[in-house]
């Protein structure tokens, strides 16, 4: 994975010419967005001759890397002093950032920028004074926020120095003081959006971020400061000999732990150089590559956030027109989103798709990295490595192919089975954290995807256990604890029935891929059974053995009785399907299934249907009677060698219920009114 990020970073730098400004622009972070997905930058236009302020709002394109123009590199992290001239925090910009830049020779004191900023601080800033003057502790929070814009000098109504000092004496926390200024500015300039906005400063017609002295500082801050030691060695990525670093703290993806010497070669701190060290060129390329991946190649899937990191091992990145690499990577993202079912065919970006077909036919690999971000901590949930480009296409095509089965088995419109839809078939529990945020416990499903994509075998029993867990959630109205939505009122039964049908589709999908771990079963018994074609086709296509078929047939009888009960409702519909209460969704042993069969026999005699001549007849006759007899025969024949678990028993029973009910429902819907 690191090779891919390095490769992307290096190619981007090469494409941009590799100058300092280009490097910094490549490091640009994604700008904040408002709820509508829009981004803006507010230019704070200061005039130093006659102190005044006006603002200009510019929209940032969602597709382009517009934030790079304004060198939006994120705020300083952790406890580092805030020092950016473009920030998403107006409070930082009008208080600590500029004074911080003037300290410790961060900006070259000989530079024009230094002089400009110094004059700006003299003309525009107020200083709340030494801590003892106002009787507060001189801790870091106060020191950081003691200098801030004096709005009165700009002719804007706001708190005066004395007001602010009084507030602090009165107990206002120093970190909240800049917010007074922010509030006054927002009142004066109501056009500044509430969210999705960056801020930068223009002084006398020039954007401060365009000054080379600022660029020099940023490069020092981002790259050079990691190379303070005198360590020399061979870079593990570029292979060059020269100054190297083992400082990986600034990378977002944690490749390497350098603070636990137990992990180092020889278990000493110095041993890290032997493990992994980077030259400045590789360090810069990794930073750039990582930012690009963060900005352009992110996606959401299975309740997790992820990055798709392509490895263009043989691809000659088409050159000769602008943004070739960016377009290449975007087209890979575009296609991958389609392959996993995140976008449908109609939503594919045609231009990018054409580009892919034209230039990337030789293939590439994709790494899917799923992660969890907890403040600054980046936790890798799952990394699916080295996926050949055609593998996801294969899965998509097979999902489409298996989707035809829906039409064959249920008489309903065919539907695709995509990786995205599979997400809703396997239980993913969710928990609400104390801060109100919902967390998805998705490690299991990510492991499932990993096995599926890598071509491994998936255990049928584990899958059916999972299906039953979600079936219980639907049945007992506990969907709130899972990733699925609650059924609409009155649609509970249909939702469960449809869910079970979809799980059958998933099993068929895995079998079609040869990835379902199950025993080879003989289906000769089907020849002896007298069933209608739809049922035979179902058992055949889904590879049911005798035991599964016995349960399926009992399930079909449950559906008959449930249907009769449903017709007992007012106006011949909506009656309560009490027969379903006889099924224990936690699992049923074989003796319990046999007792259920006896009860079904009674109910089949008890409930009646109206035949074509209008006569009321018991359900137990003709086809149902034959099904009952065949189910009993299969049960009896297999009872000594029964291998299904109680949970599986219920799953196959419900599959029969679901098949017959769903077919009846779709047939009813298709009937002319």
């Amino acid at each position: 994975m690191i090779e891919s990020i390095y490769q992307i970073g290096r190619a981007l730098l090469e494409e941009s010419g590799g100058g300092r400004r280009a490097v910094l622009e490549s490091l640009a972070a994604a700008p904040p967005r408002n709820r509508k997905g829009e981004s803006y930058i507010t230019i704070l236009k200061l005039n130093s001759r006659k102190p005044s302020l006006s603002v200009e709002l510019r929209e940032l394109s969602v597709r382009g890397n517009d934030a790079a123009r304004y060198l939006w590199l994120g705020n300083a992290s952790g406890s580092n002093p805030q020092d950016r001239l473009t920030s998403d925090n107006l409070g930082y910009l009008i208080s600590q950032n500029i004074p911080n830049l003037l300290e410790e020779q961060r900006i070259d004191p000989e530079s024009a920028l230094y002089k400009k900023l110094k004059i700006l601080v003299q003309k525009l800033y107020l200083d709340l004074g030494e801590p003892k003057e106002i009787g507060v502790k001189g801790g870091g929070a106060y020191q950081r926020n003691r200098r801030l814009w004096d709005l009165s000098r700009l002719g804007i109504k706001g708190s005066s120095r004395e007001d602010l000092r009084a507030e602090i004496r009165g107990g206002t926390k120093p970190k909240n003081v800049p917010q007074r200024v922010v509030k006054a500015l927002r009142e004066r300039f109501p056009e500044i959006p509430e969210s999705g906005v960056l801020f930068t400063i223009e002084l006398d017609g020039e954007l401060l971020i365009d000054d080379p002295a600022y660029h020099e500082y940023l490069e020092r801050r981002f790259v050079d400061s990691a190379f303070t030691g005198d360590e020399e060695g061979r870079c593990h990525l570029s292979g060059e000999y020269g100054p190297v670093t083992t400082d990986m703290t600034r990378f977002r993806f944690k490749y390497f732990i350098t603070d636990k010497s137990g992990f180092a070669s020889g278990a000493t701190k110095k041993g890290f150089v032997s493990n992994f060290s980077l030259s400045k060129e590789a360090y810069r390329a990794l930073l750039v590559g990582e930012r690009f991946v963060g900005r352009e190649l992110g996606f959401g899937f299975a309740g997790a956030r992820g990055y798709m990191i392509p490895d263009l091992y043989t691809v000659e990145i088409p050159r000769g027109f602008p943004e070739a690499l960016v377009r290449t990577l975007r087209s890979i993202r575009n296609r991958t989103l389609f392959d996993i079912g995140r976008v449908q065919a109609g939503e594919l970006d045609e231009e990018l798709e054409e580009f892919r077909e034209e230039h990337l036919a030789s293939g590439y690999m994709i790494n899917l990295l799923f992660y969890k971000q907890k403040q600054a901590k980046f936790e890798v949930l799952r990394l699916i490595q080295d996926i050949p480009s055609y593998r996801l296409e294969e899965l998509r095509a097979q999902g489409f192919e298996t989707g035809r089965l829906w039409e064959e088995l249920y008489g309903d419109e065919a539907r695709d089975l995509t990786l995205q839809q599979i997400y809703y078939l396997i239980p993913v529990r969710k928990v609400r954290k104390p801060d109100g945020k919902v967390e998805y416990l998705n490690k299991k499903i990510l492991a499932f995807y990993h096995t599926l994509i890598s071509g491994g075998l998936i255990d049928r029993k584990e899958l059916t256990d999972g299906f039953m867990e979600l079936a219980r959630a639907y049945r007992f109205g506990n969907t709130g604890s899972y990733q699925v939505s609650a059924p609409k009122e009155g649609m509970e039964d249909l939702t469960l029935v449809r869910y079970l049908a979809q799980t059958n589709l998933l099993l068929a999908f895995l079998r079609d891929l040869d990835q379902l771990k199950e025993e080879e079963v003989s289906q000769e018994y089907l020849e002896r059974l007298s069933l209608d074609e739809a049922e035979k086709e179902y058992l055949k296509r889904l590879g049911y053995d005798e035991q599964q078929a016995a349960l399926y047939l009992l399930g079909a009888l449950v559906a008959e009785i449930a249907n009769a009960q449903w017709r007992l409702g007012p106006e011949g519909r909506g009656g309560e399907k009490t027969i379903l209460n006889k099924i224990n969704y936690q699992g049923m042993t074989l003796p319990r299934v046999q007792r259920l069969a006896t009860e079904l026999f009674d109910k089949l005699r008890q409930y009646r249907y109206t035949d074509r001549s209008g006569e009321r007849r018991p359900l137990l006759q003709g086809r149902n009677e034959a099904i009952f007899a065949q189910a009993q025969e299969l049960l009896t024949r297999n009872q000594r060698v029964w291998r299904l678990t109680p949970s599986e028993n219920v799953y196959y029973l419900l599959s029969g219920y679901s098949h017959r009910t769903f077919r009846a429902m779709t047939a009813r819907e298709k009937q002319p009114a």
Binding site: A267, M365, H450
Partner: protein
Amino acid sequence: MPQNPLIVFDLCGAYGMFRKFYTNSSSLSYPFPPRTTVAGLIAGMMGYERDEYAEDLGLERCHIALSVRVPVRRVMQQVNYLMTEGHVWTGGAGGFDGSKGPIQVPLEWIFPEVGYRELRYRIYVTHEDRRWLESLREVLESGAPVYPPYLGMSECPGRVEHVASTEDWSLGRRGEELPISTVLPASALSGPPRLGAGTQIVKERTPLALDERRRLIAAGDLLYNRAGPHITARLESEVFEVSYQESHEYGVFMQ
């Protein structure tokens, strides 16, 4: 390079772990042992001490190629490590004495693909010193290595099987497209490899040689076909051609 014999042997085992150089806490594995691991393995079998073999098995003197004979699969598993703090060699301060308690760390193991009993890597070695090769051949034929072989980590015991020691091989530049059985340095290619149906070429950046202080001397990108035995390509570097037993193969040394 003088035309000394080419020794061919297999490294086999139930499972392995060849840690990628940029991962330590959550450790990913290469699908095959990198050159440095193979060099360490050979040195161990021949009885070299830890810091003694850098020169004898360096890129200049020793030429090593490797072929993945059994397809591999990767399995991620949590293992228990000991937390360490401070100076790890100091007992009682959270070093290796276990006083800081355990920590679970994900580790990627390499297993043979389903249907295969064990991993098998074929290694081809030649050296500028004929006597050195002779002693390696003796170790392999005797089946009594000085230090036991393993697949990357001491937790993954392995064994070696001597396949052949042959003079029937040659090294040279070839203009035509060839099926290369060994993992292939990306720098050796003179154009993109042929991507037939099902070919899955993976690129791995691996270390190639370490100095006596175990610091990196050279690293390189190696290509390997996950789905099959060959990579078909036209090469600009030297290719070796070898016949032994029933086989006739082309390969490229890792450098």
